[in-house]
Each structure stands twice: as C-alpha cells, then as structure tokens.
C-alpha cells in the first residue's frame, strides 16, 4: 500500500543544495515525487507535488504544515469507504492548497490520486519536452 502525501516544493533550484524538492526531503525517508516542469519559466509548474514515501518514519511529518497526509488505504478503495477523518483531512488540504478535485465525484481513492496528479501537471504553461542541442 502506498503512503502518499502532498508536499510543498521547497528550494530555489540552485545546484549547490537548493534543489527543488518536496518538503519531505528534510526528513530521512525514501521518497519519490514527480515535479512537473514549466519549461518557459524553468521552474516547477506548481508549488506542491504528490510524494510517495517508500521507507522511513513518517510520524515526524506530523505538525509540518508543508506536508499533508493522504488517506492510508488501497488505491481501489471506494471513496465511501475511506476513513472519514482522513477523507476530511484530504479535503481540507486540497482546499487550502487550491487543488480543485471533486472528491465526491471520484469513485475510488486511486482515481482521486490520479486527479490530483493531473492537477499537478497542469500549470499556466503546458509542459513541453526539453530538446537538447547535441
């Protein structure tokens, strides 16, 4: 079961220690996050990202306002069966971050996560590929 969080992207992109990265990087955990890119601005499209934590103790995230926990349940879990408190927490986090996902119209937790990730990839500028000059 995936442990998912929405985390603020921190850093300024400078190579020497200023990487754009999810706030979870401040903790000794294993984390994978997509950071959709705005090519024109050469910076992340959004100020937040979805993070999958693969290892480490996430208890330390508690109280860190930059990190919001998503419900801990299987992706195929119907929305109606998600723990009400966790669902409410997710609803509040999405609202606070301005992430417009209609939770009640999604059938499962997985579809909610997919919708959030889609929103993460939607910015003012459509992501394009970086074509290198060789």
């Amino acid at each position: 079961m995936k442990t998912l969080f929405i985390a603020t992207i921190i850093g300024d992109g400078t190579d020497a220690g200023g990487d754009f990265r999810p706030a979870t990087s401040d903790y000794p955990v294993g984390a994978i996050a997509e950071i959709p890119w705005d090519d024109a601005a050469n910076r992340p499209l959004n100020t937040w990202t979805v993070v999958e934590i693969s290892s480490g103790d996430t208890a330390a995230f508690a109280g860190d306002a930059r990190i919001d926990a998503l419900p801990v349940c299987a992706l195929e879990t119907p929305v109606a069966q998600i723990d009400p408190a966790q669902l409410a927490g997710m609803r509040a986090a999405l609202a606070r971050r301005g992430i417009g996902v209609a939770l009640d119209s999604e059938p499962t937790f997985g579809s909610i996560v997919a919708a959030i990730k889609r929103r993460a990839g939607e910015g003012s500028v459509t992501p394009t590929k970086v074509q290198l000059t060789l």
Binding site: G11, G13, T14, D15, A16, G17, G18, D19, F20, R21, P22, S25, P28, V29, G30, A31, I32, A33, E34, I35, W37, D39, N42, R43, P44, S54, S55, G56, P127, K129, V130, Q131, L132, T133, L134
Partner: protein, 466 residues
C-alpha cells in the same frame, strides 16, 4: 551493448579531459575531475562546493541507455559533497539526469538521490537515506528507459530509486560523471560504462551442432555471413543459441522441462533469423530476432507446451530474447562483437550448466570481432531427458530484408512427452524427422469389426513427419 567503457586511467593529477579527449565538461562547469593518485580512477579536486559534471562524447544510439561506475568513498565526505553518474547530458547547457550519493552533515550519513538538472536548475525527483562504508566500492547505475529513470546499486535487479518521470529531458544526450565538493582523494570513480542494454546479432551464418546425444543444444551465431560453430557431445542439455553481429546478443532460454531452445539473432539494419533444425528428435528450437531501430519480438515456438511466448523490447539494432512465463527461465548465451566486425567460426566455449546432471555446454562464438558467448544463470536449466538428437542439428540463420521490424520464427515446436522437437518449416531441404510406412494389407486378409460396414481393402500408409 556497451557503447562506452572507460577504466578512467591516466596520469595522476591530469584533468579527465586531458587524460581522455573524449571527455568534456558541461558548459559553465568549473569543478574538476582528475586522475586519482592511483592512476586508475578519477577523483575530484578540492574545489569547494563546485559541481564537476563531465560528459563523454560517445553518442548513445537512443535515449534509452544506462550509465554506471564504481564509486568508492575512502574517507569521510563533507556535507553536501556528492558523487555519481549522469545521463542524457546536453552539450550546450547544464542539463541532464543524475544519480548520486550526497553526504549530509554527519558522516557517514547521506542520501541517494535521483536528480534532474535543466539549464542549471536542479530538482530532486527521488531520494532515500543512505550511508556509506569507507573503502567500500559500490556500483552506481542510472537506467534511462523512455520516461522512466531509475537508480540501481550493485547490479541489483530492483531499483533503489525510481522509476521517476523522465519526460522532461528526452534527447539521448551523452553519458557522464559527476563529483561535487569531494575533497581530493576521498572518493574514487572507476570503470565507467554506458550501455544501451540491447543486443544485436548477426545473420547469414550457420550454426551446426553435431553429435548430440540425448540432449539439445545450441544455436550459435553468425555474423556477416561467416561464423559457424559446432558443439559436440552435449548430453542432456537445455540451451540456447545466440549470435553476434553489431554488438552483443542475449538469448534467454527457458528452462523448459525437457526441452531445448533457441536461436536469437538480429543485427543493425538486419532483422530476422531463421532456424531450422533437421534430423532432430525431441528437440525444440526457436528462432528469435529483432529489428534495428525498433522493437523486437521474441516468439516462442508455437505449440510448445509450457513455454509462453514473449515479447521483448529491444531498441535500435538490438535483439533480446527472454521468454516469459517460464517457471525457471535462465539467461543463456551472450555474445558481443564490435560493430562492423566479422565473427569467424572459431572458438566454442563450453559452459557448465548447473543442475544438469550430465553437464551441458553452450556454444559460444569468439572471434576477431570480439564476440563472445557467455551463458549465465543457467542453473535452473533442466535436462532434456528424453530429447534424442540423432545425427546433426543444423541451425542456419539467414537474414530477412533490412527494415523489417519483426522477428522470424521458424519451426513449430511440439511437445512429445518429456521432450520437444521442432517441426521443420515448409520447403525443401529438410529431412523428415520420422517416416512411417504401413504396407497395404493383402486382399481379403483384413478383418471387419462387428457392426462395421465395409470390408474394403485399406490403402498403404506412408507419412513423413517434419
């Protein structure tokens, strides 16, 4: 297929670009990688907190390739120092993907990271806490496959990190190395390898296996219409053939219970292989091939019991055969030759196959082109118990017209109790595997069963099984 291997040797103190002109810094990079005091690896200079990103001028055949190096941390790394490899590196900007170990404040702690640098703006896409052991060498590999970027350590089959989304940088770029803020001799980077992970094999050749006794064995390679190999005296083996043309070939043979297998072939611009066993009893054989610049398919023999067909991605001039769904598949046969070289019919390297009581061998081609065949992981192979090869197995390979992105599969295999045999393709030139002839009964000498009409005299029966 490796397209770059550099032991990173040179005169101690020389910049890597001086030691090997194939290396250049990414634009704007001031940090340096120099030949280490041992003369057999590189290290960084003591430049404070300055990244050293070096790329090779070796052009990958596609954006899908791996970059690896052996990294040894000899002494405590200072905070924010890092060492690793890079890929898809631009020649005109500080743009690339990289995997690295980055030290934290307290040695030996730190983190493995998978990063993206776009026009000198860095993002950490994945990270996991880690530690290092002074003096311990770790093989660090970044695998780039389409939009999937992953970090592997010490040839683990599973990634430590990733895959992460690598859709931002899609051009092949170049492979390279990185070091950052690592004081002088505290790290070593050695044995740099860039590999497109693909295989290629030859055509227009033939493999001949003779004298096989109760076993199956071995398709072997041919490059540029030359190579031919022979293996004799194989007993109870399950095996594989592979071939080499431009680069290497890998053929995965399924450890099919009581069966044998496999020819693999393909070369850049050339696609197909044909394999036609003949005069073989209870031996299965399959031809496999891949296309240049596209994907390859592996076809398992039709009708082979307990063998699942597989499709295997292979890019650009590569072939790879890895039958799936086989309970205990083993990788077998590996060959490599420098592009454009010819692999003559020369050496054969017998390789023991574990778990095969009677021992088996695998043919290998080794020639001027450097092709080798090094079967590995055959431990799970099972013997071809009932496979009986009578006479000679001939496995000629021929090339289909270039540009045909497909595979050739010749020979439908059929299960025969514990064994398999290959049905020869249609066409002339193949001896019947078995012939049956039943003389026509004499007139009036046959019996008519009760209730059965007739009484006509049956015809003679003659069948030739291919």
């Amino acid at each position: 297929m490796e397209f770059l291997r550099d032991p990173l040797n040179g005169t101690p103190g020389d910049d890597l670009t001086a030691a090997n002109g194939a290396w250049v810094r990414q634009p704007g990079i001031t940090g340096a990688l120099i030949i280490a005091p041992d003369g057999e690896s590189v290290c960084t200079t003591a430049t404070t907190n300055t990244a050293a990103y070096y790329r090779s001028d070796a052009v990958p055949p596609s954006p899908d390739y791996s970059v690896s190096a052996d990294v040894t941390i000899l002494d405590a790394m200072v905070n924010a120092s890092a060492v690793g490899v890079i890929g898809r590196a631009s020649s005109s900007a500080i743009t690339h993907y990289q995997v690295r170990f980055a030290a934290s404040v307290t040695a030996p702690n730190g983190a493995w990271q998978l990063r993206r640098i776009v026009n000198n703006v860095a993002s950490t896409l994945a990270s996991i806490a880690g530690t290092y052991v002074a003096g311990q060498t770790i093989n660090v590999k970044m695998v780039m496959s389409g939009n999937a970027i992953s970090l592997y350590l010490d040839n683990s089959p599973t990634p430590l990190l990733g895959p992460v989304n690598g859709s931002t940088i899609v051009a092949a770029g170049f492979p390279g190395l990185l070091g950052s803020n690592v004081t002088g001799t505290r790290v070593r980077i050695d044995n740099f390898v860039a590999d497109d992970g693909q295989v290629a094999s030859g055509a227009d050749g033939a493999a001949v296996v003779t004298g096989v006794a109760s076993g199956a064995q071995v398709g072997i390679a041919a490059a540029s219409g030359t190579a031919a190999t022979a293996v004799a005296g194989v007993a109870a083996a399950v095996v594989t053939g592979s071939s080499a043309g431009h680069g290497s070939a890998v053929a995965a043979a399924p450890a099919i219970s009581a069966s044998a297998l496999v020819g693999a072939a393909s070369a850049a611009g050339v696609v197909a292989a044909m394999a036609k066993p003949s005069g073989v009893a209870a031996v299965a054989q399959v031809g496999v091939a891949a296309a240049a610049g596209g994907s390859a398919s592996v076809a398992s023999p039709a009708g082979v019991v307990a063998v699942a067909s597989a499709t295997q991605p292979a890019a650009r001039g590569a072939a790879s055969a890895a039958p799936l769904g086989v309970g205990s598949a083993a990788v077998v046969g590996q060959a490599g030759a420098a592009a454009g070289t010819t692999v003559p019919a020369t050496a054969i390297v017998g390789v023991g196959i574990g778990a095969v009581a009677s021992v088996a061998s695998v043919g290998a081609v080794a020639g001027a082109g450097g092709a080798t065949c090094t079967p590995a992981g055959v431990g799970a192979a099972t013997s071809v118990r009932d496979a009986i090869a009578t006479g000679t197995i001939r496995i000629p390979a021929t090339a289909a017209p270039p540009g045909v992105a497909a595979f050739a599969l010749i020979g439908a295999a059929v299960a025969v109790e514990h064994g398999l045999f290959a049905r020869a393709p249609a066409g002339a030139g193949y001896m019947p595997r078995r012939s049956e002839y039943q003389a026509r009964p004499a007139q009036g000498g046959h019996q008519v069963r009760p209730g059965q009409a007739g009484g006509a005299r049956p015809a003679a029966i003659q069948k030739a099984y291919r």
